[in-house]
Symmetry: C2
Subunit: 173 residues, 2 copies
């Protein structure tokens, strides 16, 4: 994993002063970085009978499809409101100021299907918890949640208890 | 390819009246649909020495990373303004009303690198042409452009002449 850590670019004061941003684009453009991160995420869930891999818009769309491809299963996007063309279930979640929402097509997950949720970053966990609620509202079973980066000091995994949470890289403040 | 066509959902009057929307989510959630579409896109460019695969936000992020993974190369996102944390090049393009822009990190593509551009849909070609300009402005060489769906009647490929354009599925009005 330390090979991957060297490929992450740390950008101070983005998107605003005082925030240290962990930029995954330097990892993604590296052939070994992309391959290793996808393989390590996928291999954690090999043998766990994953039926669908859900990726969260927009950066979760980057990791989830190749993980689904590697696991020989299908990909389902969790999108921002009004992007999906067919009937969709919606869950709202809190932001620092106000709230936002995510949607999944109602026919994208069937009752009893085993779902892996993938995003690039686990921060406060609000988004991840909303997607867990979405998947469960459609009758899906959450096999686990996989992330490229986890900001341990924000304690996001406390918002998704009782679920397997796996992150390639951990950062403390 | 006709196996893939059956997996596309046609949604009338989305995102507005009179538009027939070709929904790829029904293809993506199908394990064979995802695998075949990624493999067919990637195999068209095997042997063409692709150094980087650029995906266009947001739905281009779905196909480009698994194609890059399959081609054993790196992925570079072309993002909407203000999303990228490091210095980026920008190109604007016209929309029906007004204009929008896309950005790529300046250090994501080096002079002479061979770049494949991937998006889900080739419609009027404005977005694709902007990304071609972006890649060239950074010194990259465009190996080709690959799409899941091409709306032939909008003649998008006329906006990207002198480039190899490959689409899995073609639709006429």
């Amino acid at each position: 994993m330390e090979q991957l850590r060297k490929l992450i670019r740390e950008v101070p004061d983005f998107p605003k002063p005082g925030i240290l941003f962990y930029d995954i684009t330097t990892l993604l453009k590296d052939p070994d970085g992309l391959r290793l991160s996808v393989d390590q995420l996928a291999e954690h869930y090999l043998g766990k009978k994953v039926d669908r891999v859900v990726g969260i818009e927009a950066r979760g769309f980057i990791f989830a499809p190749p993980v689904a491809y590697r696991l020989k299963t299908g990909f389902v996007p969790a999108r921002k409101p009004k992007k999906l063309p067919a009937p969709a279930a919606r869950e709202t979640y809190s932001l620092e100021y106000g709230e936002d929402a995510l949607e999944i097509h109602k026919d994208a997950i069937s009752k009893g299907e085993r779902v892996l949720i993938i995003d690039d970053l686990l921060a406060t966990g609000g988004t991840a918890a909303a997607v867990v609620r979405l998947v469960k509202s459609l009758g899906g079973e959450v096999v686990g949640l996989g992330f490229a980066i986890e900001l341990d000091f924000l304690k996001g995994r406390e918002k998704i208890p009782d679920h397997d949470v796996f992150s390639l890289l951990h950062y403390s403040k």
